[in-house]
């Protein structure tokens, strides 16, 4: 029954307890038995569990009764928390009528939360503020309620106080979801329109698309049409998303569910796609979602060149599951064949790398991540450059522009000093400071995207002892005085180490890169010069001294086991090194050029 369906999502800053709250709702509604239960129920990837993050959206259907004994179907649409995946949030919001806005009672309101709240408000969702972690000694409920009122402009009267950890307040929260979130609108008699909000690839079933029925009804066995793509499929199976998939014959308007229809790749059924029936198609498709564009680029190479074919296969398989991953084949002088890849952000890059290594057993070298530069040539042509090695000869360049962001950093005011220093170091300009709470300040600043690509978030966390939060949006291109710095190892240019750097900082940057590489590359039996150059002119150098000896003086009966294990460890370690010319370069060295300390 449409009027007894509640579709909602949870908006929360990372670490504010979203996954724990979802776990508790699942238990309170009996959707999962104690025997089946484990933490972070909705995060199915190893990486998600280990890092405590959500990468893919998913949905789960729960059933509950209100005080009057009326039965409700509650569809929780789970969304990623990290800024890299914020486009996922919009998709989830578009499929809901309500949102639980979770605020940590000890941490208060965070920037990311505010940004997502605005998105939820744009979608006209019913917002239920939830103050979580009230069991903590450091919880400051009054201050949090004050912030909800003053910073978010929400009625603190309506806030539900819970502890997702202990389960306190969960019953009240369920009641509020059923009571306050409106039932789905939509016309049950209109032609089918269902909006896809995510899809996964299952090696046995093909693509499983998650969607919300907006109008009409979807039936098992019917022929469907993907309106944006224009492809037709026969529905093999539809159902609700419980903790496991629950097959059914029919999904009504307002329902959230999955469909399996012989779709080969997640790229064929992008998020935002509208599903209708082939026989009586809807006239107009639903509003889609903006396609997420890659912002960070890096080349990936197999450590052993012979593994290229396996790597290519792995990339194709990964693409089945990750529509936001874009890549094309590249050839590097030193590193052989690989792929130039575009990522949504650095976390996305790390996730892809980890999945390739873990799920596909690849050993990879990643080049320093870079952004997409816009270069206007003297002949009037405009080129987008995502690879420093394709940077045109400076004599042909009229103007180079780099992508900028509007960044917002919110932190307790005592960290203004170190945060300002950090932002200055990252070429931030046009500061504004505003107090957004009793002792909380928001700094807004324009920055080149390139400056946050590597380790910015870690640095921010470290200078604010974890209290700083960060969000950004793209703000277009601005001219940048950039030069290409090349790195020579043992006299040979390693194209994978080349970087585009702001001219004023090129010397300092090259010096640091050389020093970092000196630390990262193990000594070998010959002296290895490392040089930073611009257009052939050497601007920095460091030398790795020759290894004179590599042996232990003694090896008797009791030493042999230890010696063998050490050898086996080194052998495994070398699998993570790439031979460039005569020099073994470890995987970590390719990112070491970016290290700032």
């Amino acid at each position: 029954m449409q009027k007894n369906i509640r579709n909602f999502c949870i908006i929360a800053h990372i670490d504010h307890g979203k996954s724990t709250l979802a776990d508790r709702l699942l238990q309170a509604t009996g959707s999962v038995t104690d025997r089946e239960f484990h933490n972070q129920m909705l995060d199915s990837m190893d990486i998600e569990r280990e890092r405590g993050i959500t990468i893919k959206s998913t949905a789960v259907t729960m059933y509950s009764e209100n005080k009057a004994g009326e039965k409700f179907q509650l569809n929780l649409i789970d969304t990623p928390g990290h800024v890299d995946f914020s486009y996922e949030v919009s998709r989830a919001l578009a499929s809901c009528e309500g949102a639980l806005l979770v605020v940590d009672a000890a941490q208060g309101v965070e920037a990311q939360t505010v940004a997502n709240l605005y998105k939820a408000m744009e979608e006209e969702l019913e917002i239920i503020p939830v103050v979580n972690k009230i069991d903590l000694l450091s919880a400051n409920i009054d201050e949090t309620l004050y912030e909800i009122d003053n910073e978010l402009g929400l009625d603190p009267e309506g806030a539900i106080l819970v502890s997702a950890k202990t389960g306190q307040g969960i019953e009240e929260l369920l009641e509020a979801i059923m009571e306050r979130i409106p039932p789905p609108a939509g016309d049950p008699d209109a032609p089918l329109r269902a909006r896809v909000f995510d899809s996964i690839f299952d090696p046995y079933r093909g693509v499983i698309a998650y969607f919300r029925v907006v109008d009409g009804v979807m039936r098992s066995g019917q022929d469907i049409l993907l309106m944006a793509r224009g492809n037709e499929y026969r529905v093999e199976e539809i159902g609700h998303l419980g903790i496991r998939r629950e097959k059914c014959q029919l999904l009504n308007n307002g329902d959230v569910g999955y469909v399996i229809a012989g779709i080969k790749s997640v790229s064929d059924v992008r998020s935002g796609e509208t599903i209708t029936t082939k026989l009586s198609p809807a006239k107009d498709k639903l509003d889609g979602f903006a396609k997420a564009l890659p912002v960070v680029f890096s080349s990936l190479f197999p450590i052993s060149s012979e593994d290229y074919n396996d790597f290519a296969l792995a990339m194709d398989k990964l693409k089945l599951n990750d529509a936001s991953l874009v890549f094309e084949k590249v050839n590097s002088v030193g590193l052989g064949f690989g792929f130039r890849c575009g990522f949504l952000g650095l976390l996305h890059l790390e996730v892809v790398q980890e999945r390739l290594e873990r799920e596909f057993g690849m050993s990879l070298v990643l080049t320093a991540p870079t952004v997409l530069y816009r270069v206007s040539l003297t002949n009037g042509e405009v080129k987008y450059i995502d690879n420093p090695n394709l940077y045109p000869d400076p004599s042909r360049i009229e103007l180079t522009e780099e992508p900028y962001i509007k960044a917002s950093v919110i932190m307790p005011d005592k960290y203004i000093g170190p945060v300002t220093t950090l932002l200055l170091d990252r070429r931030g300009r046009n500061y504004t400071n505003t107090y957004v709470g009793a002792r909380r300040v928001e700094i807004k600043v324009d920055m080149p995207l390139a400056e946050i690509v590597y380790d910015f978030y870690d640095k921010l966390k470290s200078v604010t002892q974890g209290y700083g939060s960060f969000d950004y949006e793209a703000s277009g291109y601005q001219p940048g005085n950039l030069v290409k710095v090349d790195i020579l190892v043992n006299g040979e240019k390693v194209d994978a180490l080349s970087m585009l750097v702001h001219r004023d900082r090129a010397n300092k940057w090259a010096k640091r890169a050389c020093e970092n590489l000196k630390e990262a590359i193990p000594r070998q039996q010959f002296k290895i010069p490392i040089q930073g150059t611009i257009g052939g002119a050497i601007i920095a150098r460091a030398t790795i001294s020759a290894l004179r000896k590599d042996v232990t003086a003694k090896c008797y009966g009791g030493d042999i086991t230890r010696k063998r294990k050490l050898l086996e460890k080194q052998k495994a370690g070398k699998k993570r090194m790439k031979m460039v010319g005569r020099v073994m370069i470890p995987q970590k060295a390719f990112l070491a050029v970016l290290k700032r300390d």
């Binding site: 039996q525 042996v551 009966g557």
Partner: protein, 375 residues
């Protein structure tokens, strides 16, 4: 395992005082060592009663094995005595205070003596925490030779903090006055948990390498054969048979706390605590802490880890026996390894890079597992 060549190592875990660099298992000598002597004899009996072993070498190490009474060694050697036994070594320290009765060692059956001189420089000896002076070391060496030992090994150390090549040269010159049959010259290893290791005191890598080559030059010029990273023999017959058996993977039985044993396919090791060790044997148990069965790959890795350390080299035939093929081109191209038939033999520079060569070779190992060429 009967009738195969095998070594025997006895670990005497006591010292008067521990040296500043030493990470071997040893404790201050107790008043009464009879408990340990009984335990060592018991373990020997337990480990050898099932089979008849043809021991080729007997090595009394430590600790300071001369802190156990000569009668103990005599008894133990008489229990071991087989016609195959060729080399019986005991380690000694040249501190005259210890008043070692060298002739009783000879009478016990030892035919080789290893003297822990380490240096002929009093400053360096005290830095190392040794209890003897250079003068005492020279006295001891004379005494030992006078007693009738015809196979004397002298231990030297170099790479000490502040030590110059000139210091080392003087040490070598003084060593050469005695022309011992065997010299072990060790580059000081900093072991964590030792006073010197924790202070991180050592000569620079460059100085250590220079000293390695200096000692190689001086000793080979005087007729010594440099047959292992740290080992020199005056003639082939004076190579340490016992130590070589570690490097060519001959089986050995280790008796005593923390001693390791090797059966040919399995390595095992004893508990290191003195009380634990003695108690286990009192209760009729073997004092073994743990063991590890070696896979074929483990075996091949051992061959590499050990082979480049000495001039017997790595035997490609032995690797093949483990099911591994090694294309030696990259190893030979380093210029400090030569191929002779199936053997890859390092020169003195190769031995100084033994770990590097082992790692490189380990990467090149190809598992052929009884199949023909994979391609």
């Amino acid at each position: 395992m009967a009738n195969e060549s095998i070594g025997l190592y006895i670990h005497a875990p006591f010292c008067v005082k521990k040296c500043s660099y030493c990470a071997f298992n040893s404790v201050k000598k107790p008043e009464d060592t009879s408990g340990m002597c009984t335990a060592l004899s018991t373990e020997f009996i337990r480990r050898t009663q099932q089979d008849s072993f043809e021991f080729q070498t007997f090595y009394a190490g430590g600790g300071t094995p001369t802190l156990l009474p000569p009668e103990f060694w005599m008894r133990l050697i008489s229990m071991v005595q087989t016609p195959s036994l060729r080399e019986l070594t005991i380690e000694t320290n040249p501190a005259t205070l210890d008043a070692i009765d060298y002739s009783s060692l000879l009478l016990s059956g030892f035919n080789r003596i290893s003297v822990g001189v380490q240096s002929f420089n009093d400053k360096n000896l005290s830095l190392l925490g040794r209890r003897h002076t250079a003068g005492e070391a020279m006295e001891s060496l004379k005494l030992i030779a006078g007693t009738g030992f015809r196979n004397i090994s002298l231990d030297l150390m170099y790479g000490l903090p502040g030590q110059t090549p000139e210091d080392q040269q003087r040490d070598i010159e003084k060593t050469l006055r005695f022309m011992p049959q065997h010299i072990s010259a060790y580059d000081l290893a900093l072991e964590p948990g030792t006073p010197m290791g924790d202070r991180g005191e050592k000569a620079s890598e460059n100085q250590c390498a220079d000293m390695y080559y200096q000692i190689h030059e001086m000793l080979t010029a005087n007729g010594y054969i440099h047959y292992e990273v740290s080992s020199y023999a005056l003639e082939d017959k004076f190579r340490s048979l016992h130590n070589s058996s570690y490097w060519n993977r001959t089986p050995y039985i280790g008796i005593g706390p923390s001693a390791h044993s090797f059966s040919g396919t399995k390595r095992s090791w004893n508990v290191s605590g003195i009380i634990e060790y003695e108690t286990a044997l009192l209760y009729g148990e073997l004092p073994e802490e743990s063991s590890e069965d070696l896979t074929a790959e483990n075996g091949a890795h051992e061959v590499l880890a050990l082979g480049f350390r000495n001039t017997n080299g790595v035997d490609l035939g032995v690797l093949a026996g483990f099911g591994f093929k090694l294309n030696p081109t990259d190893i030979l191209s380093t210029g400090f390894v030569k191929q002779k038939g199936n053997l890859l033999i390092p020169d003195e520079k190769g031995m100084l890079f033994a770990d590097h060569l082992a790692c490189k070779a380990a990467e090149l190992l190809e598992n052929v597992q009884g199949f023909d060429e994979p391609h």
